[in-house]
């Protein structure tokens, strides 16, 4: 009797529920097992250079020279089994459990023995029917070399094995989204988010419906945001009731961001908490809570959903801008260039606006039909034209109008593009009704679009509807109380000014100078406001500060469609510069 030792990959497999199958139909089961060996197992073992050591009635033991061969063989077999079982009643299905270990074995008369074999057999016992379990050593050797994923199920104490063994489950199921087994879906080419079911912390099962309904409303609201990729409700809700790792959810659904939250009820009131997490890093981007009465739960659901969607949009945009800034700059995409331009434009300063326009022109060169870049470029041209920051304001005015119209043609259903184009066309003296029609459509498409409501407020001011402007501005504040990217509070001050509530207007416009220190219209409005209040010294001081950023003190006020509003604005400015009103 010769005895040798060698290192090998050992595959142990058995038929789950063998006794039950034999008990139910001995002859039929044995026939089917023979067919399984003949048609699938033996060919696959041979294909992957395995050696069948022995069969044991309900199982078999196979030796391979490499873990990669052993795993390929096991995965091929397990992937074929569902097809073989199709049409067979569940109780009659033959399903295999497989364990694979790598270790030192003793070979004697063709049979194999030793710890390496015993561990493989115990791993097989841990596998689910149709599944494969492997030891950590197998996983380490195979990771990255096979189209398979491994799920760590932790240290396991195996029967009659002294040491504990770290065990991995092999993921062989096809990922439907890619039609490739064992791979997670890649991240989409735009910001992506999954909203997980909110946990019901109230101990009241009735609140499940409330929490689920609210999450559905949030998904619906976010789904309207064109530049976002939002996982659908059915997939998100497969995580309901599970304690999940956000990073894992991100991988499984192929999303960068995850929103999770909870609902807690006390008396007739409910507290909802929500937090936005970057799944790849686990970093918290935003968290907040919302309290409300349960008297009208639909109202509360709507309110929370629209608030969450309203705040998530600018938060994600800011996160994407940070990511774009951190990416290498060798070959930026149109989207990268657009993202980098956004904060430059939002500063509302001359030099940065010029830099933003340069980036956007490069974005449009790469993709001439990229609506968001065209829309933002139009805004830059409008700002350059109306702030008199260049020698060719008329050229910028024409370019702004042209780009706004191009943006509308390229992206007629994108709320962001609709809003920016409306803003440009409205400010540059085009048909105000067309501009208002566009902004209304943008807000109908995405009611939680905070900046859209600010643009609407501005357009309402231009159209001579300051009361509506105030209402729309306050809506934007509710949606996004902190993030005011490129919007500031000028429209609110402007509306009070048009209503001749000069004290209220000045209280808002004065701090706006700090928010937008490079924006001429902020100074012009405040100066006019002070002048109408009889505060000529203050008005003149503001005009002096204006001189540092533009030579144009009294602008064309054609954007104000009502003659009395134009006159109000211009007469105040004339007073401020010492002319007769």
């Amino acid at each position: 009797m010769s005895q040798t030792r060698r290192l090998a990959a050992i595959l142990a497999a058995d038929v789950a529920g063998y006794s039950r199958l034999i008990g139910a139909d001995e002859g039929g089961t044995l026939e089917r097992l023979k067919a399984l060996r003949r048609e699938l197992l033996d060919p696959k073992i041979a294909e992957h250079r395995g050696r069948l050591v022995k069969t044991t009635g309900d199982g078999l033991l196979v030796e391979f020279g490499s873990v990669v061969d052993a795993l390929r063989c096991a995965a091929d077999v397990q992937r074929e089994m569902p097809g073989r079982n199709a049409g067979v009643p569940p109780d009659n299905r033959i399903e295999l459990r497989v364990g694979i270990n790598m270790g030192d074995i003793v070979v004697e008369d063709g049979d194999i023995f030793g710890d390496g074999v015993n561990v493989a057999a115990r791993l097989e016992g841990l596998a689910e029917p149709g599944g494969i379990c492997v030891a950590a050593r197998v996983q380490e050797d195979a990771a990255g070399r096979l189209d398979l994923a491994f799920e760590d199920i932790g240290e396991q104490q195996l029967k009659n094995i002294a040491r504990s063994v770290r065990v991995y489950r092999v993921v062989t199921e096809a990922r439907p989204e890619t039609l490739r087994p064992g791979t997670n879906p890649p991240l989409p080419d735009k910001p992506s988010i999954a909203v997980l079911p909110f946990a019901n912390m109230s101990g009241d099962p009735e609140q499940e419906y409330f929490a689920d309904g609210m999450v559905e409303e949030i998904i619906t609201a976010l789904s309207r945001i064109r530049w976002l990729f939002v996982i659908a409700r059915n997939s998100s809700f497969t995580y309901k009731g599970q304690a999940v790792d956000v990073k894992q959810v991100g991988r499984e659904l192929g999303v960068r961001y995850v929103l999770e939250g909870s609902v807690r009820k006390a008396g007739g009131r409910v507290r909802i908490t929500a937090q936005l997490i970057e799944a790849t890093t686990g970093a918290h981007l935003w968290a907040d809570r919302f309290d409300g009465s349960l008297e009208d739960i639909f109202e509360l659901q709507d309110q929370v959903a629209i608030s969450v969607a309203g705040i998530i949009e600018p938060t994600l945009l800011a996160a994407e801008i940070r990511r774009a800034a951190e990416r290498p700059t060798n070959d930026p995409t149109a989207y990268d260039l657009y993202l980098r331009a956004v904060p430059l434009w939002a500063s509302q300063e001359k030099e940065r606006t010029i830099r933003a326009l340069d980036l956007l022109e490069r974005a449009v060169e790469r993709d001439p039909n990229y609506g968001p870049a065209l829309g933002l470029a139009a805004l830059c041209h409008q700002l350059l034209a109306t702030s008199n920051w260049t020698d060719n304001s008329e050229t910028h005015r024409r370019e702004g109008v042209d780009m706004a119209r191009r943006a509308l043609r390229c992206s007629p259903d994108d709320p962001d593009v609709l809003a920016n184009a409306a803003m440009v066309l409205g400010y540059l003296g085009e048909d105000i009704d067309v501009a208002i029609g566009s902004i209304d459509r943008a807000l109908a498409l995405n009611p939680s679009f905070a900046r859209g409501w600010v643009w609407s407020a501005r357009l309402r001011n231009y159209a001579g509807e300051p009361d509506l402007a105030i209402e729309h501005f306050k809506t934007s504040l509710r949606l996004s109380p902190r993030d005011r990217m490129g919007t500031f509070s000028l429209p609110l001050g402007f509306a009070y000014f048009l209503k001749r509530q000069f004290e209220d207007a000045a209280a808002i416009l004065l701090p706006a100078l700090d928010q937008a220190p490079g924006l001429p219209i902020a100074y012009q409005l405040l100066a006019s406001c002070y002048a109408h209040m009889g505060k000529l010294d203050e008005a003149q001081a503001v005009i002096e500060r204006l001189g540092a950023i533009t030579s144009l003190v009294i602008p064309d006020a054609g954007f104000l469609r009502k003659p009395e509003h134009r006159e109000l604005f211009l007469s105040g400015l004339r007073l401020a510069v010492g002319e007769d009103a």
Binding site: E173, E177, I231, A232, N234, S235, L253
Partner: protein
């Protein structure tokens, strides 16, 4: 019954993307692909992430003969809702799209992937059987045909013997050709 209700839902709130997507599904069963696409596009204009609308748009385009765009839309649906139980249906429609395009290898691959994840879903076996038969892999085709018949024998009455209104005549004939090669007997 379904059509008036779907139309009423749209009439109640024309900006409700879900309602429009449901109307598109109803229109699909009548084979009115043009109207399907209009309603699905309207739904997507409101809610570009609505997986259901991508799905119905995709199957409409695929059945109308615009296979490539249809398959793209179907895959958008699957990507947006990867764990939805209806994913098997969408993926089997992808396999069907490949078959109708006479791309039999991708049809076999797609059908096998569906079967691997959803072994009890019968439609994919029919597509698999027909595609394998068109490739001349008759033994495998007959095996797939046997499984299709074992899983859902009555589905052959509904979808094979009679042509559903949403399958074009030439596509139905093409499927029958493949199934006959795979051993199906009328």
């Amino acid at each position: 019954m379904a059509a008036p209700l779907a139309r009423r839902a749209v009439a109640l709130d024309g900006s409700d993307a879900e309602a429009r997507a449901c109307l598109a599904v109803v229109l699909m069963t009548r084979g009115d692909f043009n109207a399907v696409q209009i309603e699905a596009d309207r739904a997507l204009a409101v809610s570009p992430n609505l997986a259901h609308a991508h799905g119905v748009r995709g199957v409409g385009l695929m059945l109308a003969g615009e296979r490539e765009e249809g398959i793209r839309s179907l895959m958008n649906c699957v990507r947006l809702d990867p764990l939805d139980p209806l994913v098997s249906l969408r993926l089997s429609q992808v396999a069907l799209g490949h078959y109708f395009s006479r791309n039999y290898e991708p049809a076999v691959e797609a059908a096998k992937r569906v079967i691997q994840s959803y072994p009890d879903f019968p439609t994919s076996y029919r597509t698999l059987a027909a595609a394998l038969a068109q490739l001349g892999r008759l033994e495998e085709a007959k095996d797939a045909m046997a499984k299709a018949l074992a899983l859902a024998p009555r589905s052959f009455d509904m979808y094979v013997r009679d042509r559903p209104p949403w399958i074009r005549g030439e596509d139905h004939a093409h499927m029958l050709e493949g199934l006959r090669k795979a051993g199906w007997k009328e």
